[in-house]
Amino acid sequence: MLKIDNLHVRVAGKAILHGLTLHVKAGEVHAIMGPNGAGKSTLGNVLAGRDGYEITAGTIEYEGRDLLALEPEERAAAGVFLAFQYPVEIPGVNNTYFLRAALNAQRKARGEAELDSMQFLKKVREKLAVLQLKDELLHRAVNEGFSGGEKKRNEIFQLALLEPKLAILDETDSGLDIDALKMVADGVNAMRDPARAFLVVTHYQRLLDYIVPDVVHVLADGRIVESGDKSLAHRLEEHGYGWLAERRVAGAGG
C-alpha cells in the first residue's frame, strides 16, 4: 500500500530525514519509535502533505500513485489520514459542520454521493458510541477549549468517521492518561481491517501494549535503523534508545 524509498527531507534548510525506507502492506500495523528529534513527526507531516518540507530525494508511492504529487486534500480523498500530535483549534468553525464538510468533500472527490444531514448524523452517532465521546463536543468549535485528551479522542473520532485506508497516528498517546489511552486504542483496534494500514508513531512503548503492531521500526537520525516484531518495542523500553546506538548496523532498513 505504502512504499517509501530512500526519502530525504529538509526542513528550513536542515536535513531531517536522510534515506528513510519503509514499506507497509494493507492490513498491517507498523509502529515507528524513536528518540525526540529523530524525524518522527516530519514523516507524518510529509505523508499528509504539509508545506515547508522539502523532499530532496526519494519517492513515496501510495497504492501505486506518486503521493508527493498530490495536494493534502487529494491525499485525504485517496484515503490518507494523519492524526495530529497537536490538533489545531479552529474558533468559529463548528465541529459538526467541519466533519460533514470533510466527509462530503472526500466523497465528492471520489465520485461518491454526498451524505445528507440525516445519513451523516446516523453515522456520527455510531462512531461516537464506540469512542464514548459526548454529543456536546459536536456542537463546539473544532477543538476549541478541548482538553488534551478530548483533542486526541476527536482525532480518533475523525479517523473512525472518515474511514481512511492509511492512518498515521502521530504521537497520539502523548499527554493521555491511561483511561484515555485505552479508549484511543480501542477506537483504533475497532478499525483494524485487512484493507487498512496503520502507521503508529510514538515515543513510548506503552501505547503498543494496547495497539499491538505487526512490525516495529526504530527511527533515529533520519532513517530506520532497526526493524523487528513487537518484542523490539519492549527491548527499547528496557534499555532505552542509547542501547541502539551501540549496536547500530550500517545499512539497516525496514
Partner: protein
Amino acid sequence: MSALVESLSTARVAPAGLAAVRADALAALQRDGLPGPRDEAWRYANLRAFGQRRFVDGDCGAPMRALDPGTLLGGDVAARLVFVNGVHRADLSTTGRVEGLSIERYAAHPDELAGLLRADLDGDAFARLAAALAIDGVRLRVADGARIAAPVQLVFAGAPADGDVAWSLRTRIEVGAGARLALVEHHLAGAPHAHFGNAVADYDIAPGGHLDLLQLQEAADGASVIRRGTARLAAGAALVQHAVELGAQWARQDFRVRLEGAGARFESRGVFALHGRQQGETRLDVLHAAGDTACDIAWRGVADDRSRGVFRGAITVAAGADGADAQLGNKNLLLSPQAEIDTQPVLEIHADEVKAAHGATVGQLDEAALFYLRSRGLPFELARRVLVAAFCGSVLERLDPVARARVDALLAARLPQAEAA
C-alpha cells in the same frame, strides 16, 4: 474646480430653502475644493481620480427602474422605505401604521430638511456635496416608551441608469425615552452601475432609549457610497451597531458617537470583506462626554486581491467622564500579497478613573488551521472560505438570524474563489 463639482453644479428646480443651501454648498465646494492629499482624514481616498469623474445629479428614470424584490432583506418589518438611485419608490415600500412610530419623508418638509442640511455645511467637502444633492430623506420618530417589535428597513438601492448618477439622502432617527427600535440600513444593487451615493444620518437616543442598528452595505461593485452618521446618546441610552461592508468600489463611513448622558452605551460590531480593487474605509469616532459611559468596539477586516481596507477607531474620554469603559479591538486578515489594510486605533483619555483597552492586528490566515482542514479533505478554496467566514463571524454572533443568514451567504459568495496560493 474639479470635474466632479462642475458636473454637479447644474441648475435644478427645488423649493427655495433647499435651493439656497445648495447654492451655498456649491459655492463652498468651488471655493475650497475637495480634500487634498495632506488632509489626514482623506489621505487613503483616491480623490484625484474621483474628482475627475462626472455624475448626473439625480435619476429622473428612477421611478421605473426594476428592482428584484428578492434582493430585499426578508423577515417581518414594521416599515420598509425603498429608495432607488435616491428616489423614493412607494410601489416597493411598505409603511403600515405602527403605534408609537412616525415616519415622514423630507420631500414633504423641505424647510425642515434645509435646516438639517445647513448645519451639515460646517463639515468637510463630502458633507457639503451630500448637502448640495439632497432633496429627500426620512425622519423617523419612536415615541417615548414605545417598543417597536419588528425592524424598520431603509433600503438604498442602486440601479443602472443612463449615466453615472449622484444621489443623496438625509435621515434623522429619534428614539424616545425608554423606547426601542431596530433599524436596518441596507445598501444594495439591482445590477452593476457606478453611481455615487450619499447617506447622512443623525441618531438621537433619549434617556433609556435603545437602538439596534444594522448596516448592511452590499452596493454594486462599481459604486461609490459615502455615509456619515452622528449619534447622540442621552443618559442610560444604548446604541448597538452591526455593520457589514461588502460592496462598492469605494465605500466610506464616518460614524461619530457622542455618549452625552451618564451610563450611555455604544456597542459596535463590524466586518469588512474586500476583493478586486475595492476600497473600504470605516472611521469610528466615539466621545465619552459623561461618567460611567461605555463603548465596546470589535471589528474584523478581510482584504483580498488588490483591495484596500482602512479602519480607524478613535475613542476620546473627556475630562470628568470618570467610570468610562472603552474597549476597542480590530483584527484583520490579508488574503493576498497585493492587498492592504491600515488600522488605526486611537485612544485619548482626559479623565482619571477609566477602564480602557485597545488592540489592532493585521495578519494572514493561520497556515496550521488551513492545513488541518485540507488534511481532512476540504479543498483549498473551501478551507480558506471556512476560515475567513469564521473569522468574520466571530463578531456577528448576536446578529438577528435572518440578517445573519444573509450575511453568511453574501460572505460565502463574495469571498475569494481565486486560484490556489
